[in-house]
Amino acid sequence: MFRSLWQYRHFVLSSIYNDLFAQFARSKLGGLWVIINPLSQVLIYALILSNILAAKLPGIDNKYAYAIYLMAGLLAWNLFSEIIGRCLNLFIEKANIMKKMSFPRITLPTIVVGSCMLNNLLLFISMLGIFALLGHQFTWVMLWLIPLTLIVVILALGIGLILGVMNVFVRDIGQAFTVILQVWFWFTPIVYPLTIIPESYRHLMQLNPMYSLVDAYHQILVYNQAPELQSIAIISGIACLLALIGLFLFRRASAEMVDVL
């Protein structure tokens, strides 16, 4: 599987490039749109919620702390939800090409991951620029984001592959998960700090696999601290397990997928 992926590396790379290019072909602002979308989200939340929540963000005296907190959480969440969202309909969208051309199917999720990571990198770079404007400099602690990004990708790919494969056969899954993803977003402390949740319910957060990842992003970007390794290790394990199940399902289903597409 990995050998055929290597053989088709050129196709994967050119597809990632095309994905990026197609997003802003014939638009004046071009690549900026990749960044404008999530940043406008940040702006909206910051404007509406900062007055309500700013006081409750502990341990930080930068008055833009809430905006930074938001951006850190969205950086993680955007990558996660983009990969899942695209994996969900990946095989249905590519039905035509899968039916007509013979090529390693594994290239399809690889392209999704590559192009989502590229988008995420662009977003991160622009966020760094904004951080600098807000008086929050780049630090070496941010290098922790590299392994963290990988864990987010593996987790998202695992979930995305499982659901994407099943969605080919039971189309309700795609619809249902779009809703679930939205609920999930609000059940993860991204626009609000964990502290506003009543103490007695807070432990429930531990059940949310995205919580420890988003929290790690917060630690790094907001508090300039290395993330807590124990919870990261647990979530890496879960992510790898899901990814393996996803790959297994994908390999098993590859043959039958084309039959029903």
Partner: protein, 406 residues
């Protein structure tokens, strides 16, 4: 070693009572599907290097499914397909072209999808550009291309690298006449270099001129695997086949097979070819006035009776054919028991070689609606050059050449 061997291949599409049963199957639980729909079953054939094979069959016979399994997009449910070499398919030209990208970028992308690296593509990109012949458009976005230009680029990429097996699906009519000839020439060139062709087409002449073998699929099974002419005759009979109609194949003395079919309301009783002296002849001279006599008897009440005939060369290409519908000599409401003699006189303006006569009895302008009797290779005759000058070709078309010095 054969290039492609298809062993006892079958394809079933499975319907489960619930999709969860399907999922459970992947995890090793053996749950029987609620329905199994076999599209192909027990398909066996082998293809060797340099062969050219036509695959024919009615819609829904399983041609596309078979091709998809050979190209690898579909997995066979049972059996085994072995391929020794690279396969290229001209199935759906222009698949995956991105309209916003230029022709050149799309070529890179499409060749990447075929598994080539960017260095390999770099080496051939100028050939592809030259073959497509679309000039400056090559560096313009594909969205402003005409559909013909898009086809040209797509064909150029698909055939940029000579494969061991080339699959062509009804795609021989690419673009304008000029490009059609060009693409046909490229396919022939590949064939000469040893590429095996697999062609799906309903176009008899395309298959007969390119292929040396044909496979006829019907209801998911190979029902004939032989020379194209024989297979096509059988196929035609099959199309014309109706209720209580029979298809009969007889081996003739020279090893060829004769296919006759029909519902039998009227039958061909006797066929003979007479030369200019009024004798039954098997050998006639180029340009000789000959007469074809066909005796027909009516066995059941029918509304109209039309006789059609055609003269075919040794490859099975029709040299000339018409019927009494077109000549407006339809017999209306013939009585049961009546016998008719059709005398068809024509000059044997054919090239030197062997020819065969096909005769059909039907009710209208084609034999597709009803087919009383159909006989391929009803009669064979040879044309020899007795008194004409030396010439090439399949028809005698006497010229008057005038040469003047100026």
């Amino acid at each position: 070693m054969s290039l492609l061997s298809v062993k006892n291949v079958g394809k079933a599409f499975r319907v489960y009572k619930s999709e969860w049963h399907r999922f459970a199957n992947w995890f090793g639980l053996k749950i029987k599907p609620a329905e199994e729909h076999w599209v192909l079953r027990h398909i066996n054939f082998e293809i060797h290097a340099g062969e050219a094979i036509g695959i024919i069959g009615q819609n829904g016979a399983g041609k596309s499914t078979l091709l998809k399994m050979i190209t690898g997009t579909l997995q066979p449910t049972e059996g085994d397909i072995q391929i020794n070499g690279r396969i290229a398919a001209i199935l759906e030209l222009g698949m995956g072209f991105n309209p916003e990208l230029t022709g050149r970028q799309n070529v890179f992308h499409a060749a990447g999808l075929m598994g080539f690296s960017s260095e390999e593509i770099q080496q051939t990109i100028s050939d592809i550009e030259a073959f497509a012949e679309i000039g400056d458009y090559f560096d313009q976005p594909v969205r402003i291309y005409s559909s013909g230009m898009q086809m040209r680029v797509a064909f150029a990429v698909a055939t940029a690298y000579r494969p061991e097996i080339l699959i062509v699906d009804e795609a021989l009519s690419v673009g304008d006449t000029y490009f059609q000839h060009k693409s046909f020439a490229r396919i022939r060139e590949f064939q000469e270099q040893g590429t095996t062709l697999l062609i799906v087409s309903h176009d008899r002449s395309a298959i007969q001129s390119l292929c040396n073998r044909a496979i006829l699929l019907e209801n998911g099974a190979v029902i004939k695997d032989a020379e194209p002419e024989e297979v096509f005759d059988f196929y035609n009979a099959l199309i014309a086949e109706k209720e209580n109609s029979t298809v009969e194949v007889t081996k003739l003395e020279d090893g060829k097979t004769q296919t006759s079919s029909g519902t039998g309301e009227a039958k061909i009783e006797e066929i003979a070819l007479y030369n200019s002296k009024g004798e039954v002849a098997e050998v006639v001279a180029v340009g000789e006035q000959v007469e074809l006599h066909v005796k027909v008897k009516v066995y059941q009440a029918i509304d109209t009776l039309v006789l059609g005939y055609g003269i075919k060369d040794r490859l099975g290409q029709v040299m000339y054919g018409t019927n009494t519908w077109h000549t407006e000599q339809i017999i209306n409401a013939p009585k049961v028991g009546n016998e008719y003699l059709f005398k068809i006189a024509f000059p044997a303006n054919f090239g030197v070689g062997g020819y065969s006569v096909v005769i059909a009895l039907h009710d209208r302008d084609t034999h597709m609606t009803t087919n009383y009797d159909w006989r391929d290779l009803a009669l064979v005759f040879n044309v020899i050059n007795m008194d004409k000058m030396q010439f090439n070709g399949c028809c005698w078309n006497e010229p008057a050449i005038e040469v003047t010095k100026q």
